[in-house]
């Protein structure tokens, strides 16, 4: 079930991506409305991170096209911000929290310019938003997983983008951080910014997101959470993955879902 939106912020058309001639995304086609807080849900290896990387042109695509705000990425790059997976970088790199957050301003600085006062103020403001202002001089190797994730988000916030793509921001973070990040993302969405989040935990989907993409190599569903986050579509997404099916049945037991109609 794929529900298209009018005047979309993100349009992905017939996207196919493969590694070593093995497809990881197949004919993915959807639109996401402006101001949506969208969760990308699916089992491990479903192509969730690949989808985000394809949108940011970090990997080559085999076919299809992607439009952000009805334009190519290069035309709107400054309006789009990407938060990579926390584990993708070496946190022993010699840098302070402030150094990393200031990187968000590099795009606007251009060659030969070093960060000015306005950039530092923007970085401080972003650190305040994520509750890390007292850590600004801290060496990044001394941060916990949750703190690392917060400064990654702060770095993106300094870009003042209109669209944010976050790759697994809740993986391995503490509950307080998860709550703080969700709060910030909801505020951004209320301001009309479009947020796309790769997410794992099925229990929190309904509380966090107003739009959901169900992905497993192919796109299973895309639409408002209430319409597409259903047991039938989840079962189709997770197929034979027993552990995850167990998670779904737990939800059913809790009474959050009506009993499955099929079978």
């Amino acid at each position: 079930m794929i529900i298209q939106s009018e005047n979309p912020a993100l349009e992905v058309h017939d996207l196919t991506v493969s590694y070593d001639k093995k497809p990881v995304l197949w004919g993915v086609d959807f639109t996401i409305p402006k101001g949506a807080l969208c969760g990308v849900i699916g089992p491990n290896g479903a192509g969730k991170s690949t989808l985000i990387k394809a949108i940011m042109q970090l990997i080559d695509i085999d076919s299809g096209y992607i439009k952000l705000f009805d334009r190519e990425l290069d035309a709107v790059r400054k309006k789009v911000s990407y938060v990579p997976q926390r584990e993708s970088v070496d946190w022993d790199f010699p840098a302070s929290v402030m150094d990393v957050v200031l990187m968000g301003r590099y795009a606007n600085l251009g060659l030969f310019k070093s960060p000015r006062k306005a950039d530092k103020e923007a970085a401080l403001k972003a650190l305040e938003l994520v509750g890390m202002e007292s850590f600004r001089k801290r060496q990044i190797s001394q941060l916990s997983g949750g703190q690392q994730q917060r400064i990654f988000l702060a770095r993106s916030l300094t870009q003042n983008a209109d669209m944010y793509l976050l790759d697994e921001p809740f993986a391995g973070v503490d509950a307080a951080t998860e709550k703080a990040i969700v709060e910030i993302l909801k505020n951004l969405a209320d301001e009309g910014k479009t947020i796309i989040v790769v997410h794992h935990n099925l229990q929190s989907v309904e509380n966090y997101f107003d739009w959901v993409l169900l992905l497993n190599l192919r796109l299973i569903a895309s639409g408002p959470t209430k319409k597409v986050f259903t047991p039938a579509l989840l079962e189709e997404t997770y197929g034979g993955k027993l552990t995850l099916l167990a998670e779904v049945s737990e939800l059913v037991k809790k009474g959050e879902f009506k009993a499955r109609e099929k079978h």
């Binding site: 840098a95 302070s96 990187m103 968000g104």
Partner: protein, 251 residues
């Protein structure tokens, strides 16, 4: 990253020999060009084997540089046996010859030791590169995919950086030899990394440690009447040991 420097210091050998065949001269400039090309080619090959060949970085570094170095050794022994390029010079270098090897103007007037002039020019270039492009180099090193996402070309800066590493290696190996160049590429920086967590101080401190190793090593060699290059690297090793002890004792 540090092992890529190691790899480059060895794999530039065929580039130097090929440059010698083409130009027939031992002019530093052509050797630098030959080695620079091979250095960048090495990083390409390492990346290629890692990404396309799907083998681990350390394995791809190991395969690439040993193979290119072996090729260089064959070229040297087979074709250039009776010239100045010999394995001894390339592997060990001889810093004591630096003051004798002068650079002359076209009218035959000596300007100064060749190695000093070549390395000074390179020093200015590298200082400019690191200071002017500090933020590009640091962001593409720390978080390449984020750098790419905000429109900073990761590949371009990676290859520029590696190009400079190979130029530095080649310009220095005449003096200290290909193996000891690795010591100077890695150990002052590694010592500085132990003491500071700020990249800017680390760069400064690394340079200071390098200078101390060079000057201290010279006097150590004078005193022991031994190899100058060997003494310099010994001093840099001692500096590393001291830094390590300081850090361990502080904890």
């Amino acid at each position: 990253m540090s092992m890529v420097g190691d790899a480059i210091s060895h794999s530039v050998l065929p580039g130097i020999v090929i440059a010698f065949f083409i130009t027939g001269s031992m002019q530093s400039v052509w050797m630098l060009v030959g080695a620079g090309v091979l250095g960048v080619f090495t990083t390409f090959l390492i990346e290629f084997l890692h990404r396309q060949g799907k083998i681990q970085t350390d394995a791809s570094i190991g395969v690439t540089f040993t193979w290119l170095f072996a090729l260089g050794v064959i070229l040297v022994t087979y074709y250039a046996g009776n010239t100045h390029i010999d394995q001894d010079c390339i592997l060990h270098g001889e810093i004591a010859y630096v003051p004798i090897d002068l650079l002359y103007t076209s009218s035959g007037y000596p300007v100064g030791p060749k190695a000093v002039i070549v390395l000074s020019v390179l020093l200015v270039l590298i200082l400019f590169f690191v200071i002017a492009f500090y933020k590009e180099i640091s962001i593409t090193t720390f978080d390449p995919s984020y750098a790419q996402s905000i429109g900073i070309s990761t590949g371009k800066w990676h290859y520029l950086l590696m190009g400079f590493v190979s130029l530095t290696t080649v310009a220095s190996f005449e003096s200290v030899g290909a193996i000891l160049v690795v010591a100077f590429l890695i150990s002052p920086a590694a010592s500085a990394y132990l003491l500071t967590t700020d990249l800017r101080y680390m760069l400064l401190l690394g340079a200071v440690f390098g200078v101390i190793s060079a000057v201290g090593g010279y006097f150590l060699a004078y005193w022991t009447n031994g190899s100058i290059a060997g003494a310099m690297v010994t001093v840099s090793g001692v500096i590393f040991a001291i830094c390590y002890l300081i850090v361990r004792l502080r904890k």
